[in-house]
């Protein structure tokens, strides 16, 4: 409890930080902790994505920033100001809601003007026109929300929030209801608008591709805590937990015993085969670990063939499944120790296709491998990739 009390008072450092900062934020609903002791720094002007499966606490976190939920413990500061307990209508924060929450009794113009009118801003007419121009809805100003398509409604919701020029714009799965093609178009649009206006965007989503294509920084959230945070490519290339390894893309995780550790390399015994992992990609201190490798980093070849991957070579595989998906071919390869590994091979035309039942060797460059803690569940996050 004393720790909570300590974290609950903003420090001097918090007062000078100009972004959005969460410290020790916990939200409990009865005995269930939706968010547990969350620390988060979101720099001003960044496009930040909170990524996680349903029920991981990402929406609760967003609602606490918006003021629609009050944290059980912890503080939220925005540009140095403590807003933990500020009423939602007193925060310089606006939200694009998951279902858009457009006012059905008001037309598009009035929906967009709602925030400005409450703050009695001058020149509303002109500002709304400009904003409707930005989202290309200037011809729809006098229509009701129900008369617009899903994509148009989404843009109204965005305009209604953006026009207030909030310090932070919160986006709660705003593209979830759109079909794939429109979603791609809106992702690019959102990114463009964020670059244009330079506001801080906090985007909550369960779609890993969406998070990676749009955000500068992605925080992967699971069971109320942040598993890992960083630039999309860092998260993908160097996951620190099995959940991140499986939730962001796919991973082969193979159990291994650590044989030696040096300053820059860790050598592990993987079912009788020595493999090495860069020390910077090793995330466990134990004597056993999960050796991880992305399927597209694994090379597949005939037995004994010299593959362009000195280092980790794994012989003795048998192809058990082949899926041809156009740009690539996805193999399942059963290894001598019984585990099936995934291999994605680009269809460049230089390599031949293998058939089910053929014997193959696998290989990967050591710098692509990563090492994770053996105590973590190797299948965590794997079945939650998409809704």
């Amino acid at each position: 409890m004393s720790q909570v009390a300590e974290t609950a008072t903003p420090t001097e450092d918090d007062a000078t930080y100009d972004g959005l900062r969460l410290r020790g934020v916990t939200k409990s609903f009865g005995s269930f902790n939706a968010v547990t002791d969350l620390d988060l720094d979101i720099p001003r002007g960044s496009f930040f994505a909170l990524l996680g499966p349903s029920g991981c606490g990402k929406t609760t976190t967003l609602r606490m920033v918006a003021g629609l939920e009050t944290p059980t413990a912890g503080t939220i500061t925005l540009a140095g100001q403590d807003i933990t307990y500020a009423r939602p209508y007193r925060r310089p924060v606006n939200t694009v809601f998951q279902n858009y929450a457009l006012f059905p009794h008001l037309d598009i113009f009035e929906n967009v003007a709602f925030g400005l009118k409450r703050r009695k801003v001058k020149g509303i007419e002109e500002k709304v026109r400009e904003m409707l121009d930005l989202v290309e809805l200037d011809t729809q100003a006098r229509k009701r929300p129900a008369q617009l398509s899903g994509g148009q409604q989404q843009r109204v919701a965005l305009a209604r929030a953006l026009i207030n020029e909030p310090e932070v714009l919160l986006l709660d799965e705003p593209l979830g209801a759109l079909d794939l093609k429109l979603r791609r178009a809106m992702q690019i649009e959102l990114k463009r608008i964020q670059t244009d206006v330079g506001l801080t965007f906090v985007h909550v989503t369960h779609d890993q591709e969406e998070a990676m294509t749009m955000a500068d920084t992605v925080a992967v959230m699971n069971l109320g805590v942040i598993e890992q945070m960083g630039a999309p490519q860092d998260l993908y290339e160097n996951p620190e937990t099995t959940f991140v390894a499986n939730f962001l893309g796919q991973s082969n995780l193979i159990e291994g015993a650590i044989k030696s550790r040096s300053a820059d390399i860790v050598v592990a015994d993987m079912n009788g085969i020595d493999v090495s992992i860069p020390a910077g990609r090793s995330h466990t201190d134990g004597d056993r670990g999960w050796i991880g490798i992305r399927p597209e980093k694994v090379l597949i070849g005939d037995p004994g063939e010299q593959l362009d991957a000195p280092g980790n070579s794994v012989p003795g595989g048998v192809v058990t499944d082949v899926s041809f998906v156009g740009v690539s071919t996805q193999y399942l390869v059963r290894m001598p120790w019984g585990q099936e590994l995934q291999v994605f091979q680009q269809n460049t035309g230089h390599r031949r296709l293998y058939r089910t039942g053929e014997s193959v060797d696998l290989s990967w460059r050591p710098e692509y491998a990563f090492l994770l803690d053996i105590s973590q569940d190797a299948s965590a996050g794997a079945d939650q990739v998409d809704d």
Binding site: L68, Y89, N94, A101, F103, P104, F114, G115, R118, A161
Partner: protein, 303 residues
């Protein structure tokens, strides 16, 4: 110009004749409305015709000697000049009772819809529960509640809010209170239906957009509940204006409402033409007011 001329034929081909999305209407569809039409004819058109005809009979007739149809339009003038007082009083009492119902009913409906959680259904049953006893019986029990030696009068006299010989029964207050009580459920139920449908996230959105709870109520909750307000006020106002039981049991003959007058003209005075003319006037008056009101409230879809 050439470019627009070039695109014009394309635009024309784009505008395909609208596909007939309506389901084909065979004779079966029309057969289905026959029971409804028959019901309307039997219980509305024929009685209505009879009422219009009666209002134009020769007023010198009686139900013993029979009436002659003389198109005596002056019946209306006689009825109006004799009974404009009760007519105005009815509109006034009805309006006041409707206003009270709206205030009480809105608070109640809002609470049931948003605040009571899992008690919602129980609360709704409690709102409807009075309907299980007869209208007459409930109004009679108000007579006991407001009686001169009843608890309410005693209490008000103790608090010196009512003079020693002051009374509640046989006052306009008692009539309006009775009307308010009896028609409150007709206000609560449509209001509840309307408020319960309001998406809570819209209220959250309003607070996210700088509206405090008071402003949020007036800009979001209230306009979205307007259909319930309109239907609730209509369901309360229309029967309240024409009601005669509350006035008869709780009021005095000095402050008659139009319902009481019509009832006594039909049954006691046997003056059918005047009673019919009064009924017609009341109906037209209410119809005009309702049309005007609904137009004003912008909820034409209710009609």
């Amino acid at each position: 110009m050439t470019s627009t001329a070039g695109t014009a034929p394309v635009a024309v081909t784009d505008v395909a004749p609208p596909a007939d999305n309506g389901r084909s209407r065979g004779p079966g569809a029309y057969l289905l409305i026959i029971p409804g039409l028959a019901w309307l004819l039997l219980f509305f058109v024929i009685p209505f015709y009879s009422l219009v005809a009666t209002s134009l009979y020769d007023p010198s007739g009686s139900d013993l000697r029979g009436y002659d149809m003389t198109y005596h339009v002056a019946n209306y003038w006689t009825a109006l000049s004799d009974y404009w007082g009760p007519l105005l009083r009815s509109l006034l009492y009805g309006a006041i009772a409707t206003l009270f119902c709206l205030v009480l009913g809105y608070v109640l409906a809002y609470t049931i819809a948003f605040k009571v959680g899992r008690w919602k259904n129980l609360m709704l049953v409690l709102v409807i529960a009075p309907f299980f006893t007869s209208f007459l019986l409930r109004t009679l029990s108000w007579k006991l509640i407001l009686a001169d030696d009843g608890y309410v009068v005693d209490l008000l006299q103790t608090l010196h809010l009512l003079g020693d010989d002051g009374r509640l029964l046989a006052t306009p207050f008692a009539v309006v209170a009775g009307l308010t009580y009896n028609f409150l459920p007709f206000m609560v139920l449509p209001l509840f239906a309307s408020i319960d449908k309001i998406d809570h996230r819209l209220i959250e959105a309003s607070s996210d957009l700088y509206a405090n709870s008071f402003v949020g109520f007036w800009k979001v909750t209230w306009p979205l509940s307007l259909p319930g307000v309109v239907s609730g006020t209509l369901l309360t106002f229309i029967p309240a204006v024409g009601d005669y039981i509350n006035q008869t049991l709780l009021g005095t003959p000095n402050q008659r409402m139009i319902g009481t007058v019509i009832q006594s003209q039909f049954t006691d005075a046997n003056n059918y033409p005047i009673a019919a003319a009064l009924s017609m006037m009341l109906m037209v008056l209410i119809l005009v007011m309702v049309l005007f009101y609904v137009r004003k409230a912008g909820t034409e879809e209710l009609l």
